[in-house]
């Protein structure tokens, strides 16, 4: 019993470690590997690079990476076309329906390579790491379960509930697929 508790505490500790770590610079090989997304021929779905789970999926679970993503989202004017997730010229990113698939590697591909109907490619403007940060963050905009690692409000006018409180898209009728 005590051993089980100890193991549990250890795991919790590890999880906490990962969630709060601030990895500012990855090793170059890891960075290269992060670019190897095996997409399906239509540019959707497929498998994420193997290093992602090996690193502990930091871009979806790590508080620092998520908040970096949020920062880039503002800095690179994603808001210009997607607003704060509600959509404008570009589609909404918070209503839980994805034209190109809900998985993180599809979102990564959308940002890196662009999409035919007006989504510019960002691979020349952002590093691989930054694109992953964005992808991880974009996934949480419409999060359907509150995520404590997600960032909360910015010091700005508030347009919607914060990412950590989710589901932000609840007041938008869930689309029938």
């Amino acid at each position: 019993m005590t051993r089980r508790l100890l193991i549990l505490a250890g795991l919790l500790a590890l999880a906490a470690c990962k969630r709060e770590q601030r990895e500012v610079r990855l090793d170059p090989p890891a960075l290269d590997a992060l670019d190897q997304v095996a997409l399906m021929p239509n540019g959707i779905g497929g498998a994420p690079p193997d290093v992602l789970p090996a690193l502990g999926r930091p871009y979806e679970t790590n508080a620092y990476q998520l908040s970096q993503g949020k920062r880039l989202y503002g800095w690179f004017n994603c808001t210009g076309c997607h607003a704060n997730g509600g959509g404008n010229v570009g589609p909404a990113l918070m209503e839980g329906w994805w034209r190109y698939g809900p998985d993180v590697q599809s979102i990564f591909a959308s940002i890196r390579d662009g999409r035919p109907h007006g989504m510019p490619a960002f691979k020349d403007k952002l590093t691989t790491e930054q694109i992953w940060q964005l992808a991880g963050y974009v996934q949480t905009i419409g999060t359907y379960a509150a995520k404590t690692a997600a960032p909360t409000r910015n010091d700005e006018m508030q347009s919607r509930p914060s990412e950590s409180r989710g589901p932000a898209g609840a007041d938008i009728a869930p689309p029938s697929r």
Partner: protein, 637 residues
């Protein structure tokens, strides 16, 4: 309740000394065993724990300081990453202020004040136990988080927007905010206990002008705590609300205010400095009197100086905010009030000097620390007057000059007297003396090490080195001074190491002290060292401010308390005329349960607001257990 002779219960006056001791001990003692240790409400046991825990945090904070000095010893050093360094300096500051300095002063008071005013236990002893557990829990939360790479990294004063939701991702800032809640709850609890103990439980005859100066300081300190701490509780709670549920207290875009944080923080933060400093003043007064072998010069002046420092403490906070662009008139006002604090401080310094001058000082280790204090604190006071002026402050704000200044006042002004106080009261607490010879080395190493470490920081600051940088380029030419500082820090650290070693060694091998090794005049020495569980078999009656000097042969005592239940004497506020016998609670495990329940709620609430709802149920349950009548004699008022 009147003390009529026809009362049915056994009163202590019918018992001889041995029988009385036996009966009192049966009622007051804390039995052996873990359970009893967790349930005790004896202010001496809790005070001892409090002091020991605070010194553990001092040692931990000291290790962090050494780590920082290692990193800064050379330009571009890579002992730790910038992120780790941010955590380390934040932890060092938060730990030293919230887990060491304030608690250690209160801890000394928890142990000493009931003895000094001649009563058997502190007021609200169960609250006292609760406060200790909350304090430990707060410390564990902070240090546990640090171990898990989750330590706060926002500076000990956690300015928004840096600590706000946008710029402080994760839970690190929330850990800071909740640690504040823990320590403030415990500090407020102790403050309330001390005020009531000092106002209502003084020995008969201890009128206001006969209260020992340390007790006066603690009274004023307690009021400062009660008035100042709510401000920081409001601030940290607003911060956590902003971060967790997206309120907008500090969001200007939605009508919040960033500067509000600094006002709230420093409305607490400046008095905080005096919350640390005033108890030290009381310690210095005590030591000066005992070792100059004469009553203090200017008792009234000292008391008034302490009170006026306490009042002025609330009119200075803006001098921490001179570079935020406040209106000129406001800045001038706060410059004036900041400089005014030099007046009561000066009064105290001159009273001590006069006492020493006209007495026959006995140069024991505690007095050495007083001398170290006088020199260092005056230095810190001088730079304090310098940074009180706006143009000068604008130049050195956020540089190492400020680091030097506040270490001079905090270490010089509070830690030196505290170390003297430890040498002085160690025999009271343990029955053994610390080593006089080692003590001289400690005093020397710490004093010299301190000055060599912190004086050059003034120069670094004037040369423009900012605080809170994890490294600096070699071209700035700060390298050699920094190396010198880091080496000196090792001297300082070795002094502290020797101090801890001496304390440990003396616990077992110190020379037995006897009841009153220093021939001190105040009541805590009127009982055995260490004191029995009930402090005084018969409560002393006081007819002067220095009872043990003025009534050398035998102290007058009061009788009429019941020996078969825990009872303390309640006396009037001004003249300490006996008013009533009041029961004092027995040991209880419920404060521990309540503290555990509260801790769970507070930590949980970092992650979800629902913790406040569900977490309050166990707290309420524990409180019901705490207050439920148990059918013991103490229940019938």
């Amino acid at each position: 309740m009147s003390v009529a002779p026809e009362e049915p219960e056994v009163l202590d006056r019918r018992l001889d000394a041995a029988a009385l001791d036996r009966r009192l001990d049966a009622v007051w003692q804390t039995p052996r065993g873990l359970w009893a240790a967790l349930a005790t409400v004896d202010h001496k046991i809790i005070g001892r724990r409090y002091i020991a825990t605070a010194f553990v945090f001092l040692a931990l904070g000291g290790l962090l300081a050494v780590a920082m000095r290692l990193q800064l010893a050379r330009p571009e050093a890579r002992v730790m990453s910038a992120d780790r360094y941010n955590q380390v300096f934040t932890m060092h500051g938060a730990n030293m202020m919230f887990l060491f300095a304030v608690p250690v002063m209160e801890a000394m008071a928890v142990y000493l004040v009931p003895l000094m005013v001649g009563t058997r236990n502190i007021a609200f002893p169960r609250l006292n136990a609760f406060s200790y557990w909350m304090y430990v829990a707060g410390g564990i939360v902070l240090w546990g988080a640090f171990v898990f790479d989750m330590g706060p990294d926002i500076g000990w004063f956690a300015y928004v927007p840096l600590s706000g939701p946008q710029y402080a991702p994760g839970k690190r800032a929330d850990i800071w905010a909740q640690m504040i809640t823990f320590t403030e709850v415990s500090a407020l609890a102790v403050a309330v206990e001390l005020v009531v103990t000092i106002f209502k439980q003084r020995a008969p005859g201890m009128s206001l002008d006969r209260i020992p100066l340390f007790v006066w300081s603690m009274l004023v300190t307690s009021f400062l705590i009660i008035i100042a701490m709510p401000a920081i509780m409001v601030a940290s709670t607003s911060l956590i609300l902003d971060r967790l549920i997206g309120t907008h207290f500090f969001n200007p875009a939605e009508g919040g205010d960033v500067l509000l944080w600094q006002h709230l923080f420093w409305f607490f933060g400046h008095p905080e400095v005096y919350i640390i400093f005033l108890p030290a003043v009381g310690m210095v007064s005590t030591l000066v009197v005992t070792f100059s072998r004469r009553p203090v010069f200017g008792y009234l002046g000292l008391v008034l100086a302490v009170i006026s420092t306490g009042i002025l403490a609330f009119g200075l906070w803006v001098h921490h905010m001179f570079v935020t662009g406040l209106p000129r008139l406001g800045e001038s006002f706060f410059t004036g009030s900041s400089m005014a604090i030099a007046i009561p401080s000066g009064v105290q310094i001159f009273c001590w000097l006069a006492t020493l001058w006209s007495g026959r000082p006995v140069l024991k280790v505690p007095l050495l620390f007083v001398y170290a204090f006088l020199f260092t604190f005056v230095m810190g006071g001088m730079t304090g007057v310098m940074v009180a002026s706006v143009p000068f402050d604008t130049q050195v704000h956020d540089t190492y000059f400020v680091v030097a200044h506040f270490h001079y006042v905090l270490v010089g002004g509070a830690v030196f007297p505290l170390m003297g106080a430890v040498y002085y009261w160690f025999p009271k607490i343990t029955g053994r003396l610390m080593s006089e010879r080692v003590g001289r080395w400690v005093a020397g190493l710490v004093f010299v090490g301190f000055n060599l470490t912190f004086f050059p920081m003034h120069l670094l600051g004037l040369a423009g080195m900012p605080r809170r940088v994890y490294t600096y380029p070699a071209e700035m030419q700060w390298g050699s001074v920094n190396l010198f500082i880091s080496l000196s820090a090792l001297v300082l650290a070795s002094g502290f190491l020797l101090f801890f070693w001496d304390a440990f060694r003396s616990l077992r091998h110190g020379i037995p002290a006897g009841d009153n090794p220093w021939d001190a005049p105040t009541l805590e020495w009127a009982t055995s060292s260490p004191p029995p569980s009930y402090n005084f078999a018969r409560l002393p009656v006081v007819s002067s401010a220095y009872p043990l000097w003025d009534e050398r042969d035998a102290l007058s005592v009061a009788t009429g308390l019941r020996p078969d239940r825990r009872e303390v004497l309640v006396s009037s506020v001004a003249d300490a005329r006996p008013e009533a016998r009041e029961s004092s609670p027995r040991n209880s495990i419920w404060p521990l349960w309540t503290a555990i329940a509260t801790s769970i709620m507070l930590v949980w609430s970092i992650f979800t607001p629902w913790a406040v709802v569900w977490g309050s149920i166990p707290i309420a349950t524990a409180l019901i257990g705490w207050f439920w009548p148990k059918g013991v004699p103490e229940d019938d008022a």
